[in-house]
Amino acid sequence: MASDPVIDDLPQAAVVPATRARFSAVWIIPVLAALVALGIAAQRILSEGPTITIIFKSADGIEAGKTFVKYKEVNIGQVTAVRLTDDLGRVEVTAKIAKSAAALMVDDAQFWVVRPRISLSGISGLSTLLSGDYIGFEAGASTTKARQFVGIEVPPIITGGAPGTQFRLSAGDLGSLGIGSPVYFRRLLVGQVIAYDLAPDGKSVVLRIFVNAPYDRYVTTNSRFWNASGVDISLTANGLDVRTQSLVSLLEGGIAFESPPQATAEMPAAADAAFTLHGDRANAMKQDESIATHYVLYFAETVRGLSVGAPVTFFGVPVGEVTDVGLTMNPATLDARPRVGIVVFPERVMASLPPAEEAKYRAAVQVSATRHALVRRMVEQRGLRAQLMTGSLVTGQRFVSLGYFPKAAKARLDWNVQVPELPTVISTLPEMEAKLSSIIGKLERVPLDAIGNDLKKTLGTLDQTLKDAGAVLNNFDAEVVPALKATLDDARGALGSAEKMLTSTEANIVGASAPGQLELRSAMSELARAARSLRVLADYLERHPEALIRGKTAEPPPR
């Protein structure tokens, strides 16, 4: 081969020392690739959060790969699978939780499905309208890790760590309140209803409200809560009372609270303190009456217009209210009388006193013996009586007024019966008295003295007039009487002429054959005929009134 001249002519290659390694350096590349891949895998595995399962009643709105788990509106995981539980009764949602949130997965953590909620007071979960529902999460306090959870169906009370205080209210019914219903303080939105539930005995509703800081310190131990739902229109003896908080509460309902103005020593209420939710402001603001004295009143008149809850006033100051309106019957005489039960709160009387006096009397009123003696003295010595009064002339609402009637018949107050009877006076009597006294007052104002003086003057004038009249009469005798005699003679002559004239008249006009008489008779018969035809016409018109308009129509021949 090497002897081939062509090949021998080919140039000889230069010699390079052998430095080649047995293995190519190119193997670095797959090693690097492997390292990178391992790095990714390691990072993935290390950053892998826990996979948890949550059991829900239904997977409404939950989609694998699209539904997120959010805590404080931050995505902490994603639903990876949704499947039915083994018993096919519920739904098991598998979610991958971010590593950063792995520590939150403790056994009392809560999961629920967040759906958009649109209410009049606002829209929450608006983003769920676009992104779909998501699974809400609330961290628990436990330290025990868990991977299996049971989702709750009702979102828990979420305050999101916002500063504020929760309180409990118990109410007879929920009214139009709901979760998110506003809580107002002096018409300022300060909180909301966060939960409600039926009391365990089913006899009331317990609402939990959250009052935001710093307003929560205005919730004091004396605070009164009332349902500010809608419009509170009450027609009472006090007149028409319309109260509302805001347009939102008008539509959606709400709760308002306030401390009664007379409340003293205000202490901020403790968290979770329980309050009563009153039906309306008036009820709420009523004081806690430690002393309530019941009386029964028997009226001798109608109690129409008096309703339960009508005020009882003492000189116009409300001191109590009507608790009962009914009748009482005396079986022996079958005599029925209206019976009105009232309750009087002596502390309200105290509250209306100036502070100095109030302090003085409040202690005295606390002791029932002193109080009873005081009231008895008022009734038996000063004439304290109950009376029906009309509060509003328009509505006819009535109320019970307590007042002093010193002239009223003596009455006794018997404290030994269970419900003492407070004597009453008929309500019309004082009205009549007032009218009479006003008449007397007017009479008193009449100037009788002046009238007497005037009368005396008038009588003097009359005397003078009578004297003048006597002079005139004397004058009459002397001058008029003779002239009168002559006149009478003349008159007699005149009468004779008149008699003659009447005789001739009889012959010409009145006599039977007088021409005037004949003419009169024919005129009379004409008149009779005219009257007859008028009657015929009237008869006809009566039967055919339309003839007045249409004229007489041809009458069909009588059958």
């Binding site: 290659a13 230069a14 190519s24 190119v26 797959p30 983003s127």
Partner: protein, 215 residues
Amino acid sequence: MTSGDAIGGMQAGLLSCHCCGLLSRPAAPAHPGQCPRCGERLEWRREHAIQRTWAFLIAAAILYVPANLLPVLTTNTLVSSQSDTIMSGIVFLYATGSWPLALIVLVASVMIPLGKIVALAFVLVSVQRRSAVNNRQRTRLYRTVEFIGRWSMLDVFVDTFVVALVQLSPLMAVDPGPGVVYFMGVVVLTMFAAQAFDPRLIWDAAASRKADRGV
């Protein structure tokens, strides 16, 4: 006379330069030396061809895993954020009715890189086993792999285009995912692997067998 029967340069004691194609005699059979014309280092066959091809191929195969597992695109809209891997993109395209597009992406992004890796591995194994059958087919396979390699970058191009165009922040934004880098690595490494291979090795087996038969 089939191509298999031709006398190779190695049998004739000659070698050609990879760069300028000059046929020359080696300086010494073990160390052929440099090309007298262009100075390129002369090799009987591409140095460590099989080893280098395997290395690139293995690296490509490793990167193929994260390329397919990691998202290549992250679509951020106002309310949601969605990451798509190559496969989930194909599934999405298919599910929304664009099956021709899904097919193109499937072929270009999944089947071709995988096919290249498998094809090269097959060629390498057959060379190492000194297989002498279907030499032409294997050579054609190799040529196809080499030719088709560049088209696998389609996915990367689409990805970069979409990322560059869809930046309607905050309404919608598309961000590249880490998967695209690994995918690019797969494409580049398979191209390197194809280049590192010396198709003459396919024929060497046939020649050596013939020599073994004592021709």
